[in-house]
Symmetry: C2
Subunit: 314 residues, 2 copies
C-alpha cells in the first residue's frame, strides 16, 4: 500500500560543478507528485538526462540564494514555458528570489505560459509552509552565511484502510468512510460507539524526508528532523578541514553523521561535496564511524524514503 | 607565421538544451587570447569537459538577453571567483546585463575576487567596441525580437616582418623597426626614401571571424561581414518553416547560406538549431545548395578561422 516516495540526486557538488558532479538539486517523487529541491546550474539538463519529467514538477523549494542552489532556475522556468506549460508552479524560497527571477525573465521581454506563485521562507522559526492533502512541506532554519532553510517533506493522507464488509455489517454510511480513513470512530447514536479499529485496517506509518542543504553543525535542527526516514545532510568537507567547514558555515561528514545519530533517523545521505574530493569513499567511512546507516548520495541515483523494514536503496 | 585563431563550439542549441546540445556559447582562441561569445546555461561545464581554460578568458561578449545566451554567466563568474581569479574581466553586452549580474551576485552576499569592466553594446550602428594590439571586437546590429548584436573578431598587429640584414645594410635604426612592421617607409633624410617592401617580408593577411547569433534574414549585415574567413550564422529552422523563422526573428539554413554567399565569406558554420532537429544533415544539405562551403557546427568541435588556402576544419 506504500506509494512511491523517493529522491533522485540531480547534483551534489558544492559551489562549482566538477567533471562528475553538478551543483545541488534533487527530484523528489511522492505518489503522483514531483517536487524539486534546489536548482543549481544544469538542473534541467540532468532532469532530461535521467529521464525525469520536467513538467510534472509542481513545487520548487530553494534553500538559499547562493548560485549553486538556484542559478539553474531561470533556464528551467524558461524551458517549462517554451514547452507551453499551463499548470501553475509554486516556488518556495527566500526573500529576493521572486524579484531576481522576474527581472531575468523581463530582460528577455518574455511572457511565461503559466503562473508562478511564490511563498517566502523565514529563517527565525520552522513552519509548515505548504500543505496538500497528500504531503506537507516544512521549513528548517539553518545556520549558514546567508538566510537559508532546509525542507522536510512529509507524506499525509489516510492512516487507515476501510474494511467495507465490516462497515456494511454495521450499517456505517458510505459518507463516513473518509472519516474512517483518518482514524475517527463512528457513533450510530449517543450511546453506541463503533471503534475505528473494528472497521479498518492500519496503513503503513507516514514517512518523511529531511533535506538539509547548507549549514554549519547545528543541533537546533535535531527536534525537527528527529525520526526522519531519510536525512540528506550536507557534508562539504572531512574532519581534517573542520575549521574550514566552520569558517564557511558548512559541515563535515562526521558532523552530518552525529546529527543523524542524535536525530535517530532511518538513513543518512551525504552530499554537497567539495570539489577537492574526487574519491568520496573517505567521507563515507568517516560518517559510518558515527552512524552506520550512512550512504553517499551519487548523481543520477535514486534513494527510497522508506521505513527501516522496507529500506531499499538505489 | 600564423598564430592560432579558432572557435570551439560549447553549445549550439536554440532556446532549450537537448540531449546532445547545449545553448549558445563559443570559445574563441586568437594567439594567446581567449574570448567567450555568449554564455548559455552549462557553459562552465562544457569549458571543463572540452579541456579549455576558464581563467584564460579575458573578454566575454553577450549578444542579447534571451536566457539561452547568458543564463550560464552568473555561475561562470562565480566559479572564476571561487578559484581566486585576479585578472580583470571585460564583459561586452546589452544594457541591463550589468545590473542583472550584480543583483545575482549581491543576493549571495558574495564579493568577487576580481574586477569586471562592462561595455554596453548599441544596436543603432556598428562600432569597434574594443581594441587590443592583437585584435579588435566590432559589433553587428542584428534584427531580433529584443536588442541584439553579433560580433566580429578581427586579428590586428604587424602586417610585415622585418628583414634585419636588409635594415642593417641601409642603417635603419632599430627604433624604427616597429613602424616597419606596420608598413611605413623609412626616410633617412628629406630627399631619400627607403620603401618598406625593400626591408620587410609580407605577413599573411589578417583573418576575421563573424558571429551572427540570433537574427531574421537581414542583408544589412552583409557589408560588415563581407569577406569574413569564417561566418557563424544562426540557422534555427529549415526553409519549410520559413514563416516560423520570420515570426520568431530567426533564420533558416538556406537564408544563412544566402547571406554567406552574398558576403563572399570563406566558410559558413551553421548553428543555433531548433530542438526539433535531431538529425542536422538536412539543414546542411539545404545550406550547401546555396553556398557550398557550409558546415554544421557541432558541440565540442573546433573550427579554424583560416584563409582559404590554409583552411583546416575540425
Amino acid at each position: 500500500m506504500y506509494s512511491r516516495f523517493d529522491v533522485t540526486i540531480l547534483g551534489n557538488s558544492s559551489a562549482t560543478p566538477t567533471k562528475d558532479r553538478d551543483p545541488s538539486s534533487q527530484y523528489v517523487r511522492l505518489g503522483p507528485h514531483s517536487i524539486l529541491l534546489d536548482c543549481g546550474e544544469g538542473t534541467q539538463s540532468r532532469i532530461h538526462e535521467f529521464g525525469l519529467k520536467l513538467q510534472k514538477i509542481s513545487v520548487i523549494c530553494i534553500s538559499h540564494l547562493h548560485g549553486d542552489h538556484f542559478f539553474g532556475l531561470p533556464g528551467l522556468i524558461t524551458t517549462m514555458s517554451l514547452y507551453r506549460r499551463i499548470d501553475p508552479l509554486l516556488i518556495i524560497g527566500p526573500e529576493g528570489l521572486r524579484d531576481i527571477l522576474m527581472s531575468l525573465i523581463a530582460a528577455g521581454d518574455s511572457e511565461l505560459s503559466f503562473n508562478i506563485d511564490f511563498l517566502t521562507t523565514q529563517t527565525n522559526q520552522s513552519e509548515v509552509i505548504f500543505k496538500h492533502q497528500d504531503f506537507q512541506i516544512q521549513t528548517v532554519p539553518l545556520n549558514h552565511r546567508i538566510p537559508c532553510t532546509g525542507f522536510i517533506i512529509k507524506e499525509l493522507g489516510p492512516i487507515r484502510r476501510v474494511n467495507v464488509d465490516a462497515c456494511q455489517e454495521r450499517n456505517i454510511p458510505i459518507s463516513f468512510y473518509e472519516s474512517l480513513k483518518f482514524g475517527y470512530d463512528y457513533f450510530p447514536n449517543n450511546e453506541l460507539r463503533i471503534p475505528n479499529s473494528e472497521v479498518t485496517w492500519p496503513l503503513p506509518e507516514k514517512r518523511f524526508y529531511a533535506y538539509i542543504s547548507d549549514t554549519k553543525y547545528d543541533e537546533d535542527i535535531i527536534p525537527l528532523i528527529s525520526g526522519a526516514d531519510l536525512l540528506y545532510h550536507e557534508a562539504t568537507f572531512m574532519s581534517d578541514r573542520q575549521d574550514r567547514a566552520t569558517d564557511t558555515f558548512h559541515s563535515t561528514a562526521k558532523q552530518a553523521a552525529i546529527i543523524a545519530k542524535k536525530a535517530n533517523v532511518g538513513q543518512l545521505l551525504l552530499g554537497h561535496y567539495s570539489a577537492r574530493y574526487s574519491d568520496l569513499t573517505p567521507l563515507l567511512e568517516e560518517a559510518k564511524c558515527e552512524f552506520f546507516d550512512s550512504e553517499l548520495s551519487l548523481q543520477g541515483e535514486t534513494y527510497s524514503v522508506a521505513k527501516d523494514e522496507l529500506k531499499i536503496t538505489k
